[in-house]
Amino acid sequence: MKILVSVKRVVDYNVKVRVKSDQTGVDIANVKMSMNPFDEIAIEEAVRQREANVATEVIAVSCGPAQCQETLRTAMALGADRAILVESNDELQPLAVAKLIGALIAREKPELVILGKQAIDDDSNQVGQMVAALASMPQATFASKLTIANGRAEVTREVDGGLETLSLSLPAVVTTDLRLNEPRYVTLPNIMKAKKKPLEVLKPADLGVDVTPRLKTLKVSDPPTRKAGIKVPDVASLIAKLKTEAKVI
């Protein structure tokens, strides 16, 4: 079984981003970039399936600028066997990314596609579902458990108020939630090994995909700030404030 996993290069989750003063976006110059955390979980899950002899090959794919090659090398250091970059310096919105991944699925014919549930930069939470619809595959989003057996994927999903379990025919699309697994650390020998693994570079035009953005970002601004209130000395004064000033109890 072949598993295709998509990875996105994003601002590291530990970085507090700053909005540019001209409100054209957030400042990502000279900021640490990393693999989207949900995608790291996706790679880990795929590699575990291969280590359990359920999968035979893990292919990591990414869409974006040339620097995404670093992210793909990290994916291969985590255990992916080979990688494909769809290189573009244009802004790639979720609809375009879904079409690019859809075209790679048509070419590679994986039996399982694993994606992060959302990227931590634009927080759209769209690509996995779009890919599933485009490839006419069933989907299980926000997965916290994945078992492949008898040609089907049984997936436990995190939904509002609890968990839901689905059984999907393969090929299928799964998107990861935080508790699916805990990704391993990248080791130096594996980084060295990853440098020798194949990395193919394509352009959107090679896949026949029009990536023109459909959403215009008019501006990016700081969120409204909430003013700090007061410190109260004791429980009695807290209750008094909640009753008489805030009137919430």
């Binding site: 769209q126 989907q139 999907l168 700090a228 007061i230 109260v232």
Partner: protein, 311 residues
């Protein structure tokens, strides 16, 4: 201009976030229709027809729609989408699961998690875990939108008198089978619709202490119980307690943060609460930067004392 709101429901009643999605759809300057896709869902349709601002309810009632499978519900939406300018979903696990399938089916961009409607084609939405707000303009003729509930006051559940039109329910895709649902059962209100939330963080110390200290306060206030990601990761409580960018986004009348330092990802999930109370032993904790009322000290003494004095 007509908008179609895809209702989240349990076949008998509407989930609260549906009312916020209806309110957002009304701001598009459009007639608002509601689609109930379910099985034995007359109850949900009857509830939807009474919602203020709704002018028509479409009821697709069939076995394939019983469990809200994304493949089937999206196919149902696409089957009726043609006359609508906008297709609007609540940005819940349910809506997020389905909306992108509809967007790519129509070959249009989806606008996720909107918190305001600036004009019928321009919206604001949080990015980078709420650290920035983007104003985006859709260029597609049709729009697929998910609505963050905390951005819009809920439409009134009464005051409407729309007609219900039964439509043909689609057949099962046959690719995905619903196995089971395990919904945590308790007597507390749901986190996303609770008026009061008592939430615990890593500072609570253990799962045992979380229940011992926070439950009496939640009982006293009729509150829902929540937690920070740190408390969930430490295994104090299950994942569905989590409030934050990667968990639930809440905006209760009163949010009491106990032993929560106030990581940005937690603040992103609760900073729209009307009144925030923080109880923490670290006077420098970032949570005090957003709290209306802060109390510095040992939560193991303060919280029981609070329960006692509330009487």
């Amino acid at each position: 201009m007509t908008a179609l709101v895809i209702a989240e429901h349990d076949n008998a009643t509407l989930k609260p976030a549906t009312l916020n999605a209806i309110a957002a759809a009304a701001k598009l300057g459009a007639d608002v229709h509601v689609l109930i896709a379910g099985h034995h869902a007359q109850g949900a349709a009857d509830a939807a027809r009474l919602v203020d601002g709704v002018t028509k309810v479409l009821l697709a009632d069939g076995a394939a729609l019983a469990d809200g499978l994304a493949e089937n519900v999206a196919a149902q939406v696409l089957a009726v989408a043609a006359p609508y300018d906008s297709i609007v979903f609540p940005a819940t696990a349910y809506g997020r699961n389905i909306a992108p399938r509809v967007a790519i089916g129509l070959d249009v961009a989806q606008i996720s998690d909107i918190i305001s409607v600036e004009s019928p084609d321009t919206f604001t939405r949080p990015i980078y875990a709420g650290n920035a707000i983007a104003t985006v303009q859709a260029t597609d003729a049709k729009k697929v939108i998910t609505v963050r509930a905390t951005g819009f006051d809920a439409a009134s559940a009464t005051g409407g008198s729309a007609g219900i039109e039964a439509i043909t329910a689609i057949a099962d895709s046959g690719k995905s089978i619903f196995v089971k649902r395990e919904i945590a059962k308790n007597d507390r209100p749901e986190l996303t619709s609770a008026k009061v939330i008592v939430s615990g963080g890593r500072g609570v110390g253990s799962g045992e202490n979380y229940h011992k200290v926070l439950e009496p306060l939640a009982d006293k206030l009729g509150a829902a119980l929540g937690a920070s990601r740190a408390a969930v990761d430490a295994g104090f409580v299950p994942n569905d307690y989590q409030v934050g960018q990667t968990g639930k986004i809440v905006a209760p009348e009163l949010y009491i943060a106990v032993g929560i330092s106030g990581a940005i990802q937690h603040l992103a999930g609760m900073k729209d609460s009307k009144v925030i109370v923080a109880i923490n032993k670290d006077a420098e904790a970032p949570i005090f930067g957003v709290a209306d009322y802060g109390l510095v000290g040992d939560l193991n003494e303060i919280v029981p004392e609070l329960v006692k004095q509330l009487g």
